[in-house]
Symmetry: C2
């Protein structure tokens, strides 16, 4: 613990020590170029000696803006949200912005409203929504148009209409589906979360599109929820016995499917190939290693921050920034047993 004066030094203390007016100190802080070198040096010395630190509340009161951005997000315990948040935080910190988070995880109007009120009570510079679901969209809809706002999204999830950066999960799904088809599977089955719904998910669309493009039969989509054990149950109940390839909504769903296969004594990839989505850190550790699509969530967070920064600077409506996913092939996918068919 450093010892400190009872009251933190203010701009007036600096001015006194440097023998200048408070206005000059303020200028040194905000626009050093306009101050003569002599005084500038004197002020900077005083700042260091006093350990002066600007009071952001006072700055915010004057300017109406604070060097702080708000992030509205779903459950930060989930891999995607956590990683995007990570990227935002890094980019923000580099730009000297602090990040405040507000979790919105259901559609209850009271919950959404109070969460937004809480964020808006602060003089934020801007807001980023991690718009992967409808709850965040609902929260974003309550933010006044005067507040600079940007969004991190995936295909089809950017329902707020705000400037955004996005991850092309539709492309990722096509890569995954194509990979399986190229291996010789007659078709590919799919476990989808939150399907059917009015948002739709790029990864489900991409899967369907790739099947169509290659004239593969389209099996019924198997619906599940986020919980891996629900995916396990859905796989056991709805995946046909002759399925040889399964493309999963995300890695956690894939892990549930892998568990289902193990419990049923079906070999992976011998009897069935399983492909996930996201490439979370544990994907490679699973037995067998999970073939999946790598999504650069942290990059998405950084890109969203750049979009917000442009918006804050009053730039023309910034273009969306897309991040390309890539396929990561590991042990869980292979050729079907009877691959040698015409």
């Amino acid at each position: 613990m450093v010892e400190r004066p009872p009251r933190a030094p203010g701009i007036a203390d600096v001015a006194r020590m440097a023998g200048v007016s408070v206005a000059t100190v303020s200028r040194v802080l905000n626009d050093p170029g306009v101050v003569s070198e002599r005084r500038r040096t004197a002020v900077q010395d005083a700042i260091v000696r006093l350990g002066y630190r600007p009071n952001e509340a006072a700055r915010a009161l004057k300017s109406g803006r604070q060097k702080m951005i708000g992030v509205i997000t779903g459950n930060t315990t989930r891999y995607g949200f956590a990683s995007v948040l990570r990227g935002i935080e890094e980019a923000a910190r580099e730009g000297d912005f602090l990040v405040t988070i507000t979790v919105v995880e259901n559609g209850d109007p009271d919950h959404v409203r109070s969460a937004v009120e809480l964020v808006l009570s602060q003089p934020l510079s801007g807001i980023i929504g991690i718009e992967f679901d409808e709850f965040v969209t609902a929260a974003l809809a309550r933010i006044p148009a005067t507040m600079p706002t940007a969004t991190a999204a995936m295909v089809g999830t950017n329902r707020s209409g705000l400037p955004y950066a996005w991850l092309d999960d539709e492309l990722g799904a096509r890569l995954a589906t194509e990979h399986l088809l190229a291996l010789g599977h007659r078709t590919v089955h799919h476990l989808a979360v939150d399907y059917p719904n009015d948002i739709g998910h790029g990864r489900t669309y991409g899967y369907l599109a790739e099947l169509a493009a290659r004239d593969a039969p389209v099996p019924p989509v198997v619906a599940t929820d986020w919980a891996p054990m629900s995916a396990r149950a859905a796989a056991i109940e709805h995946l046909p016995d002759d399925a040889t390839a399964v493309f999963c909504f995300n890695d956690e769903v894939a892990m549930g499917v892998l568990r289902a296969m193990a419990d049923q004594g079906r070999a992976v990839p011998g009897d069935v190939s399983v492909v996930g989505f996201d490439d979370m850190p544990l994907a490679e550790v699973w037995t067998p290693g999970l073939t999946t699509v790598r999504m650069d969530f942290a990059g998405l967070g950084r890109a969203a921050f750049e979009v917000l920064r442009a918006t804050m600077a009053g730039a023309p409506p910034p273009t969306a920034r897309a991040i390309r996913p890539s396929l990561v092939v590991r042990g869980s996918s292979g050729a079907p047993r009877a691959a040698a068919r015409p």
Copy 2:
């Protein structure tokens, strides 16, 4: 997008509409009891009609404190940190506090200093450090004593000496070790992260203590780092062929060990029992389901917030709040093959 006046309404607008002074409006906001019912109602009506929202920057400027707490944490992408953050955020939101996060993930003095500077530039009400590693401890050491601060810790990690809440991972390790010994294993091996080091970890201590208490032989501790695949490598290289039970530092390490066993053709739990630590959501999905120790990280976050709240209220140095872990038995642990020995 709601349409809004160019400038947000202030306390003066409310006062005008309600026909009272600004002082009265302020009182209604902060201490409604002292205002007569008639005026109070008038003010509250005006607040609603105007959509008035207090400007926290102005409040902070007067009081020197803002309804915002800062969280200093390690990589929020990791399960433990993310879950504690989660608990803090929930508790804070219920108390109408906003949460700001700053990630400190290495010991570089410049990094630590600038991270702390950034946090301190805000008129925070208080700070919580998720003190699971030395980097957060280093950051906490730079916070002036005048700032209310609390910590979320585990056994031995609370090196800052600040008021804290903690998770008794030493007890958890004893439960896990005892479980394995009670199953009939002659002894238990251990993969430890960050060992040996001057902090030490409660879970490693607890394991050692339980072995000693039961007069079991003490095999050399196998060192690994956080990455599951490193744990896999360490297990393959250093775990003796006759090991029948392994207690792992955390679930991710255990997953690496499970992978090592699979790659070596050793059956779990037939040939070797594996126990993890933390009970992350995927632990039950693994094949076989992972026996582990459940750690209530979110509860820890909430408890840390309570400790901070007491500190902010100027209460006597709050007592530490302990959270008990519990053993969760699943498929990865069982009796050794030759269990029927004296």
